[in-house]
Amino acid sequence: MGTVIETPTKQVWRFDTSSWRRRIQEYRLLLRLLIKSPPAAAGLIIVLVYIGILAYDQFFVAQNDIMIPNFNDTTPKAPFWWPGGTAAGGWMGTTIHGIDLGDAMLKAIRIDLLYSSFVVLFGALVGCFIGVVAGYRGGLFDEALMRATDVTYSIPFLVFVIAAAFAAGRRDFLTINAILLALWWPPYARLVRAQSLSVKELKFVEAARAAGASDGRIMLRHVLPNTLAPVFVQISLDLGVVTQIFAALDFIGFNAGNLFLPELGNLISAGDQAGFRSYPWTVFLPGLVLLIFTVAVNLLGDGLRDVLDPRARR
């Protein structure tokens, strides 16, 4: 028994710097190609600005989890550049309960971006692993996975989330987050599965198998990295979708008991309550912030798709 000390696994999992360096070079090339297309570059810049706002809020804004009301001054005031606005309204005006809209929107960008990227990245991570195992191994697990995703695809997503929140018995922001975390992996699993079905037939996988690599190693080191291109595109597009889902659910009342949560849907809903017919900016401005982010993310996603999949170039 004492002879099995020198196992080859130690060598197999060695950190291989040369392959990482090659991969980083590849990504640098992709970035250069990406910023050559003006729409994609614009999308990238806007997304970076939003990330900058997130970082600024995270590190330099005190009390960044709550909108600060001013109950002495509850009538919404227009921003100074709005027709009929006064200097008292400031840059972005105020909304219901005397909340400064500019301040609230900055905080809302942080919350929305942070939570939606968490949902998307977690979903992508789980989906990638499930998908690569299903695609590479096949068999019963694969079949079960496909039928399960069929079922989740046959219920409109928003309806599914609403019903799940109902079953959870709670309607707050964190419950919605938990539900989205649990439900966001199926598209990624399908994407990666479809890719790995073709990748696993390629010569280098056969070579790895001939060299005696284990299934786990082949899946993680050879199949998975080569299925990631569409996953990046999907991540980029999904960021916009999830942000909108948060906002939409918040808007239709899935933010029970947290009126002062800085969240774009909550702000739009607050504007709706304030009376958007009299104070249109309270609805218009937060929605515009959401729209610009979604447009930027879509531009970035389309640009990434063009770069990663040259056949789809138009």
């Binding site: 109902f166 009342g253 739009i268």
Partner: protein, 370 residues
Amino acid sequence: MEGVESARLIYYVMRRLLILIPTLLGVTVITFFLSHAPGPGFALAVYCSPKLGPCTIDNPLLKPIVDQFHLRDPIPIQYVYYLSGLLQGDWGFTSSPVSGGIPVTQAITLFLPQTVELAVASIVLATLIGIPMGTVSALRKDRLSDHATRIFALVGYSIPFFWLALLLQIAAISLNPEWEITGGYSPTVLDPGSPSSSWAFVDVGGTPVLFSQPTHFLLLDAALHGSGTVFIDALKHLLLPTITLAIGILGVILRMIRSGMVDSMNQDYVKTAWSKGLPDWVVTRVHIRRNALLPAVTVIGLLFAGLLGGVVLVEYVFAWKGIGYWATQAVLRFDTGGVMGTTLIFAIFLVVINLVADVIYAYLDPRITL
């Protein structure tokens, strides 16, 4: 040959219908899980009141309810009861749309037509605008009108539905302050016993008019009654929600048509068609666009998934009394039957639409292995 083709199509449809069965069973598992997994207290909660004592299955006062819903049985047995109830048309009761509660199946006959009306109207509008715009965009590729159309498409599919709905309301009100935008239809059940005798209060110029509803499609009913004012009023109410949804779908249809046409423009058979000296409109319509329409058909099936999500929001904002409105009301009012019923009907709706899209695709494209 014709007979063989149609036989294959029928075979294909039958096979697809068989595949639907496990999918729909999975959906019922989900709806059952949603209502029963949190424990028996969830199903009981609607019937509990402080006067009846503790809200548990051991409470003797709640025994009839416990027996009726088989709450003492194991979960799998309860599922079988639930499923057999579904198959026999017993979908439970919903309390959110009409006070006092009506059977879910009856509520569906009240609300589903409104949603179908809205969804079909917006798909038709989006297709009618999207196909010509996509064609123009592809033919004038990289010119100003193409860029404008692409930006329009991008904004269209990025825009949050509920925000667009609010903006359109502001715009409509600034155009005409008298315009009654939300609601417009409220189903009213005078005799909950029979689903055929449902009526609606229709708001015509501020005065509610009682109106019998043979089909529940308000436009159709108005036409059947020969009532011009109700018809125009219904159209007015339909306009804004339809535009909201159509703008969202339009972007995707536009993109599909444009990219499909740009693809097929470089194909050899198109060059042949040009070199034969065929007129412009024949080449663009018959050779280029017809091939771009194919993928658009499948996309419309996929679009419906997003559309039905959007329907929930748009119906909420416009207080449009459809399935989506009912679903949100059911959640906010803790109405288990309503949530399960709407989830199931949404799933069936979506699955059927996808089936239809696939069948149309298979019918249009002879290369599809049926």
